[in-house]
């Protein structure tokens, strides 16, 4: 379990600081993550990778010549925000365009996607490439819905080497897509990790059992079975992966595979070598040649017990790029000629923008909104553990910690903005940006969007009345359905948010006072959240994770209900 910690909320930031201090000659910290300290030749395509923290060496450990140009580093198991991704991309780009690449998780897709929109608006050529190697997370015909795990490294390595050769962005992207199409992973888990400050593990596997295909954050696997010998585990993984060997690899008589035996944290080197011993023998028996095998910790999940096997089916093009030199803190291969340090000024980590002043009435409203943000913070802090446990059933267990970090950051940013003279709109917009950036993950993006939309309805001029507040609440809910694309019944936050907005609108139309209308709407949201567990899911999480998703509650609905209920006290 994770035992060394100062403030759990600062864990990921402090770890990144210690990482940068250890590798000062290789990486530099920028707002949102790290970039190479070595200069990138002008015109080279920049590869920006990233994801949640807690997976070291993924992702910051892979920044360097021949691999990534920058890594956006989210909080623990939570996607970096769009602002973080965009910041790292701006500090990485060298005139050849930017490829954003990451493991295929909902939060990452959302944030990297939003970052791409922003960066394109700034005139950059940006490509987005999600890695989808984990065969346990969706059937072969839905390859694009699969999660990304240790196969990330293969795709990043191929693209980093291609960029290093000076290939154009179309070609680097094409090779990256080929690498993703050629790469398959499958893992087994024996026990879950314990997040900093948590009382117990995110999930458990019964002693003597193993979970096949469990995700790196504890997402449900394919099946649970009796713990087998090292050889039997290796056989199981090899057989399942070889069953998905692409027809072209067989058809063209190719025999090369990149092999990655990846420890998730607690499963140590000798165990990994034991498994590799059998994997190597099995591949040889199939007439396959392992090219530059990697056995060690590549994509960890804190101290989770388990391992994964990745096979990437290579041809000349992919093999050459996989074998090309690279020099990053955690991955070095061949000889990379030393390069002088970059001399440009990088955007620094702390760069607060000046706050626009509001009118006196709007500033007075901002003070009340700061109190409301404080109430949200308190409500979320009190429910953190419960939300985390709820999320671990179907998701990655980061909902509690993400919501707490987001709500705390929003309350702090809102208070600072109001103290600096901001009106209602600016106070909520800055609070929303802080929530999104500091919380990361899907919920961070959604709550950031809600606060921003709510704020926009209030303005910085007039004192917001009952109409503006109601419009703001409805705008916030609309922002969520716009952003996430989910519908009621998908068992997301929308399940609670839509009845809330409908009830609020109807009650106000019937002439109820705002406080009473809000209370009715909050009750509707609570009832809807409670019902999510009983309603089969149609899409979203459930589709990604297979049948096990059915019947599992989405914690987003629960936390939405919790927050709107807490706010009834503020009227």
């Amino acid at each position: 379990m994770t035992v060394l910690c100062n403030d759990p909320a600062a864990f990921a930031d402090e770890a990144l600081e210690g990482f940068v201090a250890a590798h000062a000659g290789r990486v530099r910290r920028v707002r949102g993550g790290v970039v190479r300290s070595a200069a990138t030749p002008r015109g080279q395509v920049a590869l920006v990778v990233g994801g949640g923290s807690g997976h070291y060496p993924a992702f910051a450990g892979w920044v360097g010549p021949g691999l990534a140009h920058g890594a956006a580093c989210g909080n623990l198991f939570a996607s970096p925000s769009a602002a973080q991704v965009a910041s790292v991309a701006r500090a990485s780009e060298a005139g050849g365009g930017v490829i954003l690449s990451f493991g295929n998780y909902a939060g990452d897709v959302l944030h990297f996607g939003q970052a791409a929109v922003r960066l394109r608006a700034e005139g950059l050529d940006v490509r987005v490439l999600a890695v989808t190697d984990d065969i346990a997370s969706a059937p072969p015909e839905s390859h694009g819905l699969r999660r990304g795990t240790a196969g990330d490294l293969v795709a990043f390595k191929v693209m980093g080497a291609a960029a290093e050769r000076g290939l154009g962005i179309d070609e680097v992207e094409r090779l990256g897509r080929r690498a993703v199409a050629a790469t398959r992973s499958l893992g087994v888990a024996f026990g879950g990790c314990t997040l900093p400050g948590a009382a117990g593990p995110l999930f458990t596997v019964a002693p003597g059992r193993m979970a096949l295909g469990l995700g790196i954050h504890g997402e449900p696997g394919i099946e649970e079975r009796e713990l087998a010998s090292a050889d039997a585990v290796a056989d199981l993984l090899v057989d399942r992966l070889l069953a998905e060997r692409p027809p072209w690899h067989v058809g063209y008589g190719e025999d090369r595979v990149a092999v990655l035996v990846n420890g998730l944290g607690e499963t140590k080197y000798d165990e990994l070598f034991l498994v590799h011993r059998r994997v190597a023998a099995r591949l040889a028996a199939h007439g396959l040649r392992a090219v530059d095998p990697e056995v060690g910790e590549l994509v960890t999940s804190m101290d989770m017990a388990g391992l994964s096997l990745t096979l990437a089916f290579l041809d000349d093009e992919l093999a050459e790029l996989w074998q090309a030199p690279a020099d990053s803190p955690a991955y070095r291969k061949g000889i990379v000629e030393p390069r002088r340090d970059r001399t440009d000024d990088l955007e620094t980590y702390a760069a607060p923008s000046p706050v626009a002043a509001g009118t006196e009435p709007s500033r007075s409203a901002a003070t009340r909104l700061v109190a409301a943000l404080g109430a949200i913070r308190e409500a979320v802090a009190g429910a953190e553990e419960r939300l985390g446990r709820l999320d671990a059933v179907a998701g990655d267990g980061d909902h509690g910690i993400g919501m707490r970090r987001g709500a705390e950051s929003a309350a702090t940013a809102g208070a600072e903005a109001a103290a600096a003279g901001a009106g209602a709109m600016t106070t909520l917009v800055l609070a929303g940006e802080a929530w999104s950036e500091r919380a990361g993950g899907t919920s961070g993006a959604l709550w950031g969007a809600m606060l921003t939309a709510f704020g926009a309805a209030l303005g910085d001029e007039a004192a917001p009345g009952r109409e503006q507040l109601a419009a703001g609440a409805r705008a916030a809910v609309a922002a969520v359905t716009d952003l996430g694309g989910a519908a009621p019944g998908d068992k997301t936050l929308v399940d609670a948010a839509v009845p809330f907005a409908e009830t609020l609108t109807r009650a106000l139309a019937e002439g109820e006072r705002l406080a009473a209308a809000w209370e009715s709407a909050a009750s509707a949201a609570t009832r809807a959240a409670e019902a999510t567990a009983a309603v089969p899911a149609r899409i979203g999480r459930a589709r990604v994770h297979g049948e096990r998703g059915i019947g599992t509650p989405d914690p987003g609905a629960v936390s939405f209900a919790l927050i709107v209920t807490a706010l009834t006290e503020e009227f």
Copy 2:
């Protein structure tokens, strides 16, 4: 815990096989361990390191240009045998002499020392250098008695770089001794590792507590205290290590230190980075400059939870060698020019020597000895867990597994020898060699020597009678006191062996039959073993481990008594 395993007894061998398969371009397997696959320039000093398995990257992960030339790999947490060390040294040496280096543990000192004696007899210039960096294991004035932990890497790196420069063996040895003198480590542990096939961890630390200075096999620490924050742990380690900053480092105004933050297994990268963040800040506040810090897993202890900090106080000479290039499976730095593969024939792993045939009477005696070896095997197998637990109190917990492996190997080798026509002596000598080589550790060396000495007293010609058997038993006991240098009361195997030999001799002199005399002697050994726990220790383990050694029983005496008692059935 360790969950992936085939046959626990084959764990270390199979892991090494998988390691070599993963790094076929860098290392080659030889009898006893691994050597570089790259050719070593003629006349270069060869650095041969080693120790027990279960500590990866130590030791096999550090074989390559700029680091070690070979690594002797013992069983799990058990020293390689002298034969293994000698074999790896022979395959490594390139005409410039050999330096044998390892962490300072009793078994390693014994086996590497014996290997040096053998190799010198073959005409090689061999130097022996034990690393003694762990400040928890003895006070500063007894620096030479301290254990070796992650500081191994500093000494090996300095010597490997010095050898790579073509320096002579005197100079490489001098630099190695300077590196050891300049290096200090201290660790904290939060929980013990679980060996393959074991039902529970080797030791535990109560939740919310941490053990300061606990050894990498669970050897007792300095003190237990409440679990502190990451910063407080960093402060504690930095303060204790800086208190031992050598006067010359202060006096000459030196400000460079090599910094190693080493994870023991379960304590993951983000936690290590968190600690490194504070270590870096504290060193900077002391005006010290970190040179090429290493933060990661360097000397692990299976899945043990905890970490250690190493500081090596550098000057120009040491700093230059610490920063020099190296290219090994687990440690790479700078640019090492590719070198062609070595083309000499390496001694292969399996090289059984032909068995000398005995006379018919001696072969008949050999058959009875094979039965006796079988009885030893059964007795030891039944007591394995108890012996392991006993050893974990004061030692490294490997006694049970080591004894089982040794007894099994001896029984097998003895049976094979007898089947091939060996007489009594050859059967026991081959059984003894197998015990020593396969069991490793101190007890492996001692039991190997006992069987060999016993066998030598029997010869391969005449049927051994009561006199020869009694003489053999006494010779075996004498071999132990010669080899280990321990006296009765030191709480070693000798405590049981000496009363055994004395009682046997006296009973036979009084005209008792051998079976009865043996039984009395076995009873004396059992009483003596039971008494070891009550008698304060004078030297040996107790001295190395400080006050905590007093009152802890040595499992060697217990297993000796167990075995001689089991043998009473054979008369």
